[in-house]
Structure formats: C-alpha cells, structure tokens
C-alpha cells in the first residue's frame, strides 16, 4: 500500500461552503446584534448635584437660624446694659413706676450702695432748680 504523504499531494481544501452572499449580509445581521450606544440616563439629581447640595445647605441654614436664635434668646436673665438702655429709652416711665417696683429690701440695698452724705444731699438740692417741685413730691 502506498503511504499517503500530505506534502506530495495537492493541497486538500476543507470542502466547507457558505450560503450565497453570506459575507455581504453578515455585516447587516451583525450590526443588528451589536449593542447600540444608548444615551446614558443621568438623573436630575446627578446632573445638578452641586446645585442641589447648595440649595439644601441654604435651606438647612435658613431653618436652623430661627431655631438657634430662639434658644439663644430664651434666657430670662437680662443683663444690666440691656436694662439700662431700655429704661433710658422709655420716656413714659415715671418715677412712680420705679418706686412701685422697689420693695423695702431694695431700698435698704440702695442706701448701702449709694452712701450719700448729708452735705452731698444739701449741695445736690441747692443746685437743683426744681427743688420746690421735688420737695412737694
């Protein structure tokens, strides 16, 4: 039997064939199968993220300021400066109002704190033009 030698024989082809115009039509069918470049869906939040964050920050601050202000000013203790300013601007506040608010202890304290001598009182009264009016009161 003669040994078969591939190199001594004419090249043997595969014998495969394709449908008519297969390669011409292949590109069309492939393009249909290829994933289309769909436009990316960007959410409204993602697109205007910075604007949203800025608006949220402003909103938080706007809501926080009155709340903080409320708690800060909640203190009932009035400082002396505020009280003096209030009294000096209240022109309709008469001495009776002040006297009415003072009790015996307050007057004693005033005597202690404001230690006026008799001479000082006499000088003050003599230099006051309304001395008669004050005596009457």
């Amino acid at each position: 039997m003669k040994a078969f030698k591939l190199e001594n024989e004419p090249k043997i082809e595969t014998g495969f064939k394709t449908p008519e115009n297969y390669f011409e039509n292949f590109s069309v069918s492939l393009l249909e199968k290829l994933p289309q470049n769909e436009p990316k869906t960007i959410s409204l939040f993602a697109r205007n993220r910075k604007t949203f964050i800025a608006a949220a920050a402003v909103l938080v601050i706007a809501l926080t300021v009155p709340i903080v202000n409320k708690y800060v000013t909640k203190s009932k203790e009035l400082d002396e400066a505020t009280l003096e300013t209030y009294l000096s601007y209240q022109s309709n506040l008469i001495q009776y109002d002040l006297i009415h608010e003072l009790d015996t202890n307050d007057i004693k304290n005033l005597d202690k704190n404001i230690a006026l001598g008799d001479d000082t009182i006499e000088d003050l009264l003599s230099s006051n033009a309304n001395i008669e009016h004050l005596i009457l009161e």
Binding site: F4, T14, G15, F16, T18, S27, L30, L34
Partner: protein, 156 residues
C-alpha cells in the same frame, strides 16, 4: 471588520464544522471584540487578539453544545463528521471528507494546530501568539498531527 470576517469565519468553521454554529460563534466573537476593544492593551497584535477570542468562543461553544447533548466534545465532533455528507454547506469530495474524519481522531491541541497551519496557512509565529505556546511546541504538534493523518489516510 470586513478584513477579518472571512478568515475568522473559516477559522471558526474549521473548529465547529457546522455553518449555523460558525455563524453564531462569529457573531459572538465580533460582539466581544467591539465590547472589549477599549480594553485591548496592544501587548499583542490586534489580529492575534481577535483570533484568540474566536478560538476561545468556538471551543466554549463546542463544550456547551456537547454538555447540552449529554455527550463529550469528541463524541459531538464524530457525530458532526458523520453527518457532514448530508450538510448543505459541505460539498467536499471523498478525500476532503476523509481528511475531516482523520482530523477528528487527533487530540484537541493537535487538531487546532493542524487546521491553522494546513488549512488557514498561518505562520507558526502567528499561531504561537494566538494559542500562547512556543513555536517549537507547535512544530512538534503539527508534525505529530501530520503523521497521524497520513497514517489514517493510508489505511482508509
């Protein structure tokens, strides 16, 4: 794409043997090529990279088809070869059919090397880059493949 279309089809068809299967695998190959083209680093030639994808796709396809049929890849290939004469898209003569039958008797690696060298006439360097093996190993594989095929054709 048109440059690669025909040689890639032939490469895939030589592995999967059936036209419809080759069509599916070729489509999948191009889809993968387009999808991962931006990840192609250029370490190898574009040609080798695409051929490697096609080879892997074809072999994976064969394995999956065999698994679905509940038979081995070798059994599937034998079955396909037995039906080759009735295939509409095969018009080979007696010696062509015998050669196809001889090829399926080879181990997978030798089959690949023989088909790429003998039918597709790729250079050893190109095959080495596609399959990731040395030229020396490829030459040895091809030599063994040729000897087995010649023995098969002599006795049949």
């Amino acid at each position: 794409m048109s440059d690669y279309q025909k040689p890639l089809y032939n490469h895939i068809r030589n592995i999967v043997l059936d036209h419809d299967d080759a069509h599916d695998v070729l489509q999948n190959t191009f889809v993968k090529v387009f999808r991962y083209l931006n990840k192609f680093k250029g370490d190898s030639k574009l040609f080798s990279w695409i051929y490697r994808i096609a080879t892997n796709e074809a072999l994976t396809f064969l394995n999956q088809k065999a698994k679905l049929s509940g038979i081995t890849s070798e059994a599937l290939q034998n079955k396909t070869i037995d039906n080759l004469q009735a295939d509409t898209y095969f018009d080979g003569n007696e010696i062509q059919l015998k050669l196809q039958k001889a090829i399926v008797t080879l181990p997978e690696k030798q089959q690949l090397v023989f088909k790429m060298k003998y039918f597709e006439e790729l250079k050893y360097e190109e095959i080495a880059e596609i399959l990731g093996t040395s030229v020396g190993a490829l030459k040895a594989s091809y030599h063994h493949a040729v000897k087995k095929i010649e023995a098969y054709l002599t006795s049949n």
